[in-house]
Symmetry: C2
Subunit: 469 residues, 2 copies
Amino acid sequence: MDPARVIEGLRTIYPADRVLVRPAELAPYESDALTAFRARPVAVVLPQHRDEVVATVRWCYEHRVPFVARGSGTSLSGGSLPVPGGVVIALNRLNRILRLDPEERLAVVEPGVVNLEVSRAAAPYGLYYAPDPSSQPVCTIGGNVAFNSGGAHCLKYGMTSNHVLAIEAVLADGEVVRFGGESQEEVGPDLVGLFVGSEGLFGIALEVTLRLVPRPEAYRTVLAAYRSLEAAGDAVARVVASGILPGAVEIMDRLSIEAAEAAVHAGYPQDAAALLIVELEGEEPEVEAELKELLEVVRASGAYEVRLARDEVDRQRIWKGRKSAFSAVGRLSPDYLVQDGVVPRTRLGEALAEIERLSRRYGLRVANVFHAGDGNLHPLILYDGRRPGELERAEELAGEILRLCIRLGGSITGEHGVGMEKRHYLAEMFSEQDLRVMRRLREAMDPGRIANRGKMFPEAQETAALRTA
Amino acid sequence: MDPARVIEGLRTIYPADRVLVRPAELAPYESDALTAFRARPVAVVLPQHRDEVVATVRWCYEHRVPFVARGSGTSLSGGSLPVPGGVVIALNRLNRILRLDPEERLAVVEPGVVNLEVSRAAAPYGLYYAPDPSSQPVCTIGGNVAFNSGGAHCLKYGMTSNHVLAIEAVLADGEVVRFGGESQEEVGPDLVGLFVGSEGLFGIALEVTLRLVPRPEAYRTVLAAYRSLEAAGDAVARVVASGILPGAVEIMDRLSIEAAEAAVHAGYPQDAAALLIVELEGEEPEVEAELKELLEVVRASGAYEVRLARDEVDRQRIWKGRKSAFSAVGRLSPDYLVQDGVVPRTRLGEALAEIERLSRRYGLRVANVFHAGDGNLHPLILYDGRRPGELERAEELAGEILRLCIRLGGSITGEHGVGMEKRHYLAEMFSEQDLRVMRRLREAMDPGRIANRGKMFPEAQETAALRTA
């Protein structure tokens, strides 16, 4: 459709100052956290009320104009990359917590509410919202829902899908529906689960009912240093086999330790080949008992240094190092690709050894930071985009790592989603039949194929996304 | 289609002894645990291999013959009632545990495996399968998946959908697909969750990958007796508010106590108006600490008798009473309807008081046994089917109870499903838009509308089911 007509149409819904069309206004929306992709939309609209979102989707459906919903743009898979010629619906102003019920332990929020704000609002009642992606101070619930976001503590608590009770959404054909309810027992198929993780291909969440959980009474955070990455990986299997269920089990390798230490002075042992972070949480006596067992297991696993977070400040420092590792790696290299694959946790050691071999073969450094407890790897592939061909080599290496994950019985994405980035790997993980049924569902929810068009499915109409590199 | 031609077609797939067609052979398949409905299929087939299931579905799709998959027929909502003129695919012979991996904590099973058999097979590794419907010694995993079965311990562990990692299924058009994987982190929408709870309307599970969890080290089971049902309901809110997360929180009222006691001599206090059963589980020190707190809370809630299960035998006796309550009520009345509704747990007291008023108004006794921790009510409506009009009155009363649940913000089914029984209430709980999207999904998965036709949707083609009563 002619851009001028799209803009004209949107101005029937919004006042002029909430329809962004000038290049300088559009620039911040041209990419998300996967900056290797960039695309310019015709317009960005800034709804302040859910009715405006519904009206926009209906207008887009009627005129077959593609749209992309967007929160803070923290997607690492290009999930909120605009569609050229399409509309971006920026949901950040829909940021009200509509209801917080401490008795029923739930919060009803708009999609633009920032993840951490939910926990802040729930704190006076001793409750919090469990899923904790590293971007939690900025990422929004709408984006968390679209990508079924995880986080370090999802080992114990599960992903976003385990914490969403109900969703009111506008489907891609303008139909407003309500999935789920306030009880955990749903009628029929899990439509909430169908919507969560659908990467914006079905429609836009207007209202999300989140489950809140009681804040743990106590935390114990153990930091263990190892002489090899394999030994740390092996320790994870031992911890899991012992029957302890920690809140989080994380591993950082030498390169990421170095980066995090330089960036935030987390107090990590500088000579370690790998660090294991295990956090226990729960009631005081339970945690104390688990700690005793954990320390035994960790010591027996060959850690040469084991220390316990002294207090909350020390604990926060340990986590700050871990959570800033991605950005800290930026100090070691002008560019890097964040990967996100999953392997069965019993095959972690094997996967890490193979990644090291691949790293040497491609002549590119790979920093490993990962949710070890659930086998969710985050290899960071370091490259220099100014050197011709290096991005392509980094992407090839990333592809080999994903294929390795599939081969070991894992998955091409743990929590970042398929988005733009991994569409081409979908067919390597799923059979033609599996993809067909996904497309049948997409068709049922978005007959016009206008919602986040070009994402997830390899064969979908390509967006004319331009690489910046 | 002409029955003779259906039988002829099925005999191209099965040897004659595995295509049941004679009335005496068909009789056991004419109804499930909701015996008020009864219907005769053209044939029952007994596949011994998944390929036979696939071939049957493909044949049915090609000839537009409806089919119903069935396990042990324990559905309380008529979910496995045959479609007249259709085929029943009885999956009980597909009962192999194909793989049990204690390290990855999972079991891959065929759909006809009995729930309890999974836990038996996992026991040597200190693991078990958590969802525990009362029918667990006979009900099958395929049925559990279709109806997203719960159980007393689902308060802590969640429903079936929280314990299924992957499903290989034949969709209703014969396409064989694989949803999910061995990791808990899925790519895209939760298709496993979509299939779980779909009540057989999408297709048939051929292979299910179940999550196993470590058996708790210790249990403490507390039995508390109250002078009123409301006081017991109120105690539940107090337990939940205290931050304790028990494995199970159950309530039985006077009528169900009486019935259970007469049937299995559970040792329940006979003069109680309501019994509260709270079970703690976990590591020894955690459970001990929680028990101390629980006993304080329960004593402060007005219980006039509080006792702790002395040992495992005593504990099993307490549970035996609870789990046999449904069938035990059969001693008090020639017939009864089991209802299954959900209310927010903060409104339990209100719901119970209203059910009592309704019971008096209709002149029918109602026994209440329920999963109080998650607000899942199981009112048993006692009636005598030989008295003209009494079944109809019981059904009317059941309808009023369901409407009460909806009004209080709950749901028409907690764990028994919609099936035949509640199709007509679906439209009272969901909007026209919500139902439309459900039908769009049904259409995407079963374009021929042959899988379990006539269930769940109120407006779907009615089966000519005959009431026995």
